[in-house]
Structure formats: C-alpha cells, structure tokens
Amino acid sequence: MRANKILLLVASLGTLALLLVAVWRENVDRDWRRIQRDYRSRLEREAAAGFAVQLRQLYVPDLGATDRCISCHVGMAPGEHGIAGDPVLGPHPDVAHDPADFGCVVCHDGQGRATETADAHGSVMHWPHPMLPARHAWAGCGSCHTHVAVPRRVELAQGLALVERNDCLACHVLDGRGGTLRPGSAGVAAPDLSRVGARGFDRGWYDAHLARHETAEAETNGPWRTSFGPIAAEDRALIEAYLGSRVGAPELVTAKATFHELGCRGCHKVAGVGGDDGPDLTHVGDKDPGQMDFHRVPERTLASWLAAHFRDPAAIVPGSRMPEMGLDERQIELLTFYMLSLRRSDQPEAYWPKDRIRAERFGEREFATDGATLWGTFCAACHGPSGEGMRYPGAAAFPAAANPDFLAIASDRFLRETIVHGRPGRRMPAWGESEGGLRRAEIDAVIAHLRSLGGVPAPRETEPLRWVDGDAAAGAGLYAQACASCHGERGEGKEGPALANPRFLAAASAAYLVESIRRGRRGTSMPAFGAASPTHRVLADDEIVSIVSFMRTWEEPR
C-alpha cells in the first residue's frame, strides 16, 4: 500500500522533471531562439528594443513557399539590416530577386518549413532536396531559368577579350570587375552591365557612345575621350553577344557553355533535345540523395557524386557506357555545377522568366543554331570536333563522319535520313524532331557544317536510288569471299559495321553502296575493291553490282 504511494510520488516527480526539460527545450534551447538572442545582443540599443525573438517566415502562396530560414538568418528578414560579414546573421547579397518576394527554397533548396538547423539545411534522412552548397548557390537559378540561351564558349572568351581590350571596364562594372577609372581622369559612373542580358539594352549604344566620344574630344581629356574609341562592326557583334549572355550568373553561363562545348547532349537529353544513349538529364539536379549509391563517393552529396562520376563514370555506376572524358578539375567543377542547375520547379506561369517563356512558348533555342555550334553540341563528342571520329578507352572507335571518301559519295539526302532516323543497334541516336529534338533547318545546318569539315562538295543524286539489278546468287558467293570476314556472314557486323541494318539499307542509295565498295574508304580498314591490291582480287563492276543486289535481299522480310 505504501509502496504504491511512493511509486505515485516518484512517477509524478519524474514526469514533472521531464516536462520541465521539454519546456526548457521548447522555450530556451531552440537554434533560432539562441541565434536571435545573439543577434539582438549585437544590435544597437534602439534597434534591440524593437527586436522580438520570434519565429519568422516568408510566405509566398503563389510559389508554395513557407520559408522559415529567416528565423535563424534573421539579417535577411524584411526590415532587418543584418550584421555584415557574419556567416549566419549577415544580410542577403544583392541579387536580382528580393527574397521577400520569392522565398528562399525556390533558389537554395533545403526544407523551408523546418526550424532546426540540420532539418532546414536538408542534409538529413527523409528530405529529398538538401540545400545547394554555397559555392554552387547559382545553380538554384536553374529552377526557373531553365532555358537561358548561351553562346559558344569560344565566343564568350572572345567577347570578354574584346570588352577588356576596348576598355569598357574603365567605366562599367561587369560581373564584379571594372568601374575603376584611371587615376587622374574625371569619372563617369557608368551602368553596371552584370545583368544587362536579362534586362536588355539599347541597340543604339554604340552610336550614342561614339557621339559622346566625338563631342568629348573637343572639350576634355576624360574617359569619354581616352577610354572609348571606334569599334569594328564584327567586334561589336561579339561584344553584344557577350553582353546578351550577362544575366547575373556568369559562372552558370560558362558552365552551360562548357556542357554544350563538350558535346554532352550527343548522348544526353535536356528538355527534350539531345541523344538517348545516356540518361535524360533534365531533372538531374533534383535527384534525391536518399535514393543514390554513395559507396564509392567521398561525400554524401549530389555534387560529390557527380564530380566522382565525371572522373570515372563506370566506377560510380557499374556498367555505365559513358566514356572517361579526360576532363580537368575546372571542367569537372563546371559540369557538376551545371548538373546541379538542371532542375525544374512547377511555378505558375506568371512567375516564369522570359527565357522560359521564349523557349517553351515560342520555341526559341538555348543554344546557337549555326552549324558549328550544333556540331559541337550534338555531334562532336562522338564524331570529333573536326569530324575525325573519337576514340575513347574501352569503347569502339566512332566513325569519322568528315572522311572525304565518305562525303564524296554520301548525298545530303543520305546524311539527312541517317541523322533523322539514327542507326538502330548502334550508338547513333535518331535526331528527328520527335526523337532527338532537332529541327529540319538545324539538321541541314549540321550537314552543311559537316561538308565544310570534309571539304568535299555533295555528290549529285541523278540516278534512281535503286537501279541495281544484278545476280544476287552470284553476289552471295562473292560476299562470302570478300566481305563476310569483316562484315559478318549475314551482314551482322564484326570488325566492320553491320550492313544488314534496315535503316542503313533504306537510306543508302545503290550508287552509295557500289561506290563504297569500289573506292573503299581511306583511313579505315575498308579497301578499294575496284583497284588492284596484293590482299584481295579486283572486283569487276558487275560483280560489285551483284554483291549490292545480294545485300538488298536482306531488306526483304524473312
């Protein structure tokens, strides 16, 4: 009886003690309370008196944002000025978007509703969207600015060189550089050009500058006179292209240009355009680390996984067919950064930026559509920057598409059909609009560029495509003697490419096949059977025709 009383007392006191612990945890020991108390203690007396320690949040219903990040990062809260230089309490850096209008998570990711540090930063179990690390913060732009158009990387470099050479940075600030007037010269506070590509600029800037330069010549010795001078028209075009790419995220533009330059889209789709040999990368920056294998990756983050993967794809993803690209650390960093920016948020259309509307509603491209850019972006990773055909360790060599022997007999029609439909069974994907996403005009531009790489004009297809009518039975025997050792007994391909490929046979004209056999292809193992050689006997024209006739029998349904 007495024991029950004692038990009741002990249990009650124990419960009371635990409740007090809970009260203390709730009201004193919360991260954001500690941080806000610290903030208040560092404020001026007047500001501190008006500062209440309380939970704060940014609420933007249209974007579904309920972001309590400012409960700790209180210096970024509307109306607060922050403590400059403090990693937690500092003010938000000057960016195009006011956090009060957009919230935090839309750019930075993480868990906006959370009020405890680890949960809010999102690197916890069961939160699929951890925060972007600070050095990759600009990747967050990709959530909305999915379609920022970028020029080629060489053009970026040329544009920057011209901007520097023409002394624009004497007056203008660009990506945090410049605006430093020369000592002793009167200053002109010129507009900051860092976001001029997003805002747009007056196309008459050059004439206006020139007019000021000419009037200034008479009066003073100021920057209008010394720092500005006439610029050639082609240089102006490069400068304008460069300025068009200044959208406030220079690293992101460089990273995207690098991605295009390395030809990654030859195998990977982004937003419906690209090859299908590798995984679609449209949402790769949204991947949930909780669903990934980090066994061979130094750090449990998506960025670390991506970087390790770029170094050695097959070591991270067993069985990956992605070649080792031999990238340097800078390229790996840029590619990782761009991958992190490949994310898609489903904001209401009213929040879409111009680039996204232009791309998704008006079909504008995010890459330049001249032949050289298209070749570099979609073809060069396999066929080589000059069409020489790439060789990667452990992978079969890719065909040299710019081989003059090939281009001399391959008609534009043959090239176009091959590009549009691809080559099933090989790594060449179909590039037609419903598959790889390239448009007719773009494919024609690629073909024109390829011709310029090979330096051979297009053959004229005058004969009917299928004039061959030889002795297929005799052709079979000849094929077995001369061709089967490389191309396989039934054309299935061995060292040489498969010939029984239906897409190939459908696209190839009789003339193409006959001439290929007769002239061979220099630079490959395919000999010219029409010419004398110590290794094989010369095939007469009618024998070649019969071989082609035999190849045509593969087209018939069996």
Binding site: M1, N4, L8, T15, L18, V21, R113, G290
Partner: protein, 512 residues
C-alpha cells in the same frame, strides 16, 4: 445582533470553496471508510470500482498494472490526439505539411506528437501483455468469460486505432504501410482467383474498396482513416471500455485463488467495521451482484476500501505510464519520412511492427497470412473461456494442470518449431521456388504459416490428452502462438530487407 446581509455575503464568500466542493461531490470530502464507500458509489466515474477491494488485488504480481497502463496510454493518446486535431488537416499534401508544421512550428507540437505516437505504441504493447496476463492467471473463467470476449474486441479496436493513425501523416512510411495493409485486406482474392470466381465474387476487392473508398490510396482513403481514427474507433473503444470495467466490478473484482484470504498478509491498514451500522442503499446495490455479497456471513477483514488505497495504486500506474511515454518522447522523435509518392515504392515497405509477424506469413500466402490465420487466432482466443470450464488454478500465474513446466516446455517447442520452419523457408525457399507451376491453392494451404499452426494445434491436443485437461491444451497453444508471434515479428522487423529478402542486419541492405 443578527448578521447583516454584507456579513452573510462575506461569510458565503469565505466558504465558497467548501460549498463548491460539496456541490461537486454531493457529500464533501469523506472522512470515514463508510463515507468513502458512499462517495465511490455516488460518483459517476468512481462507481465503476468496487467499494471494497480484496488485498489480493494489491499484489503487484496479480496484474502488474497492465490493464490500467493500457487505459492510461489510451487516455494519453486521447488528450494528445485532440490537441493534434487542432492543427492536422486531413487532406493529401495538406496533411503532410500540417504534420511538418506540427513538428517544426506549433509550440510543443513535436513533443505532443511524439507522446501521441509513443503512447499508442505503449497501448498496443500493454494490451497484448494484459491479455497474456489474464490468460496465464486463468482469470477469464466463469463468471468472467464475457469480459474476456469484450477484451478481444478491445484488442482488435486498439490495433485498428493504431493502424488507421498510421496513414494520417501522408508520408512514404504511411503510404506504403497502408498499401501493404490494403493488399492484405484484399487477400481473399488469392483464393477467389485460384477458384476462378473473382469476376463474380470478390470479397477481397470489396473489403479493400470499402477500406480505401477508391482503387487507389488517395483523399477518400485518408478521410476514411481519419474518421475511423478520431471518431468511430475511439467511441467504440470507449463504449467497450465502459462495459469491460463495469463487468470487472459486477463479476466480483479481479479473479483470485479460492484460498486467497489465507494467502494474503494481514491488512496493513486498520480495518473499520463497515457494515455494522444500519444498512443503507449499499446493501441494495450489493444484492444485485451475483453470488454472496462479501460482507454477508464473512468477515471483511481481507478487503480494504477502494478509496484511497486502490486509487493510489491506479494513479501510480497511470503516472508511471505517462512517465514512460514522456521519457520516450524526449529521446526519440516520431518518424516523418518524405512526402507520399506513389511513383517511388519504399523497399522494403513494412507494416506497423505488430503486423510484421503477419506480413512475414503474407510473404508465403497473402490469404493465409493476412486473413485465414489471424481470423482463426482471433476466433480461437475468443473461444478459450467458453471451452476451458475447469476451476483449478484460477487467479494463479500459470495456474492449471501442467503449470509453469508445461508453459516452459511449450515455449521451447513453440520457439524451436517456428525458428526451424522459418530457417528452412529462408534457406531452401518454398513450393513456389521448387515447382514454379504449382497451383496457388496448394501454396495457400501448404505454407510455413499453416504448417506452424498445424504443429501448434497438434502439440496442444497432445497436451490435452496427456494432462487430461483443456486448460493444459490452452496453455500449450497460447504459449506456442505467443512464441510464434514474437519470433515472426522479430524476423519481420529486423531480418527482412529490400524485396523481403533475409539479411542478418539492416546494415547489410544493398544501397538503392
């Protein structure tokens, strides 16, 4: 001079607390045992107690307070659950975010939710333990048979409450656990499919549809589970609890051995002669109790008034339960995984722990594991008091023929059998792996679950014969099933990984 109105008002104000106390309790604070008895009788809640309680009841080993612990846990979930309802929004997406807000923003929200979750776990555990206690002390016997049946109803309701609460956070854990649960509800389809009559007769699909309100787990399922969880099941549980407690009193308090009077020590508190005064309505009410009233023809020395002695014991258990819940809540947070995503299945998707024993059997046959065997077990448990009509050992731990040795032998048999069958099935696979074309009906009726049940039933019959006692058979069967339940649950919780494959430890699970 008589007092003025002002003075009387002052006096009334001064005695206000006492007047209020008397108004509430009708009699004021009781000071004698007799007044206390009258107080207990006169109070709506307290009168569920007997007025006087036998000293046997106060031995800790009599009940270990498990019934009160289960009730306490229920009361805790009731209070915390009502608090959670202020913030919870029963609609997909909104549900998840409201639970996130409860966790992160609502003052003490996380703490309250943790307590709710832990109290629910404690309740399930206490209900199981309470059932085992009542069984092993043979306390279900006449006149308490019906209360055992009510208890079975309470067990099912408790599991139902816990299971319906599982879906409400609308996270991955919830979504996929309910997917498993709904598929188990659909498991009669295994038999109707095998018979080829699913198109015309599909009880499994019907049950699943009634449960989910749709073919998919969506807003209909959520609102159904919510309604069941916060209204229907608690009301039913409350009603059955009332019956359960009322019957304890009407059936003469807790079961005790026939020689209990002799075996308890002298009363540690002075026993006042209670019924020497002129009889009051106590007698009339007591006359309604079956059997002879404790006060007639016998000395009441081995009983003490429920107030305050029993109340101290009950309150102690109550506070202890709260202490356990609060302590667990401070140590471990209730889980909240990613937002429910039908496109990303959890692997492994596991039901709540108390269903993992069933899920382990479901892996062999959905119907047997999910429907057949559980139904048999519930029916079997319900029938125990109606079949065991012996009197030997009532109120004694492991009372009855065989006693503790029989229980230990049964436990050994139960453990060895279940571990052997599980090990065999894990190591060598089952019919489906050996003969891919075997008809499903064969697997439905020949699988580890059914073989285990058969082995236990045979062993139990053997014990009935050997001890010439139904109680012995019941002891053997109950012990075996308890062992089977525990082992299968542990296997399901700890040793099953992705694709329900066997792993020695979750650390060995392959990465995604």
């Amino acid at each position: 001079m008589s007092s003025t109105g002002i003075q009387r008002f002052g006096e009334n104000l001064r005695t206000l607390p006492r007047t209020l106390r008397e108004a509430v309790s009708r009699t004021g604070a009781p000071t004698t045992d007799r007044a206390r008895s009258s107080f207990v009788f006169g109070n709506l809640f307290l009168h569920l107690h007997s007025v006087r309680v036998h000293l046997w009841t106060f031995r800790w080993s009599t009940t270990w307070g498990l019934g009160i612990a289960a009730l306490s846990a229920f009361l805790v979930t009731l209070v915390t659950g009502i608090l959670l309802m202020f913030y919870y929004k029963p609609y997909p997406d909104a549900a998840y975010w409201s639970v996130k807000d409860i966790h992160f923003v609502v003052p003490t929200g996380k703490f309250i939710r943790n307590i709710h979750r832990w109290a629910a776990q404690v309740m399930v555990f206490a209900v199981f333990a309470h059932m085992a206690r009542v069984f092993y002390t043979a306390s279900y016997r006449k006149p308490r048979e019906f209360n055992w049946v009510v208890g079975m109803g309470l067990l099912v309701l408790t599991l139902g409450l816990s299971f319906t609460g599982y879906l409400l956070p609308w996270d991955q854990l919830a979504y996929w656990a309910i997917t498993i649960g709904a598929n188990i509800a659909q498991s009669p389809r295994e038999v109707t499919d095998a018979l080829g009559v699913t198109a015309t007769f599909d009880p499994g699909g019907l049950v699943r549809f009634i449960l989910l309100g749709s073919e998919e787990i969506g807003e209909e399922a959520l609102i159904r589970f919510y309604l069941l969880h916060v209204m229907l099941l608690p009301l039913l549980l409350g009603a059955l609890l009332g019956v359960h407690f009322w019957r304890i009193r009407k059936d003469g308090g807790l079961a005790r051995p026939a020689d209990a009077d002799r075996r308890v020590a002298e009363s540690p508190v002075p026993v006042q002669p209670t019924f020497t005064d002129a009889p009051r309505k106590t007698y009339q009410l007591a006359a309604l109790v079956r059997g002879t009233s404790p006060a007639v023809g016998r000395a009441p020395e081995k009983t003490v008034p429920a107030m305050p002695h029993l109340f101290y014991a009950e309150l102690a258990v109550f506070m202890l339960t709260i202490l356990v819940c609060v302590a667990l809540s401070l140590v471990s947070d209730a889980p909240l995984k990613e937002h429910a995503n039908p496109a990303v299945p959890e692997n492994p998707a596991k039901a709540p722990w108390y269903f993992l024993g069933l899920q382990e059997l479901v892996a062999y046959s959905a119907f047997m594991g999910g429907m057949g065997l559980p139904t048999l077990v519930v029916i079997g448990l319900t029938l125990i008091p109606l079949l065991d009509r012996e009197t030997d050992g009532t109120g004694e731990w492991f009372g009855g023929p065989g006693g503790l040795p029989l229980v230990l032998r049964s436990a050994a048999f139960g453990l060895v059998t279940v571990i052997a069958i599980e090990a065999f099935a894990i190591r060598f696979g089952w019919l489906r792996e050996w003969f891919p074309d075997v008809p499903q009906l064969v697997v439905t009726f020949v699988n580890p679950g059914t073989l285990l049940a058969l082995a236990y039933a045979a062993y139990s019959l053997l014990c009935v014969k050997r001890y010439d006692s139904t109680r012995a058979g019941a002891l053997a069967l109950f012990t075996c099933f308890l062992c089977g339940f525990v082992v299968l649950t542990i296997v399901g919780v700890h040793f099953r990984g992705p694709n329900w494959s066997f792993y020695w430890s979750p650390a060995d699970w392959p990465a995604h």
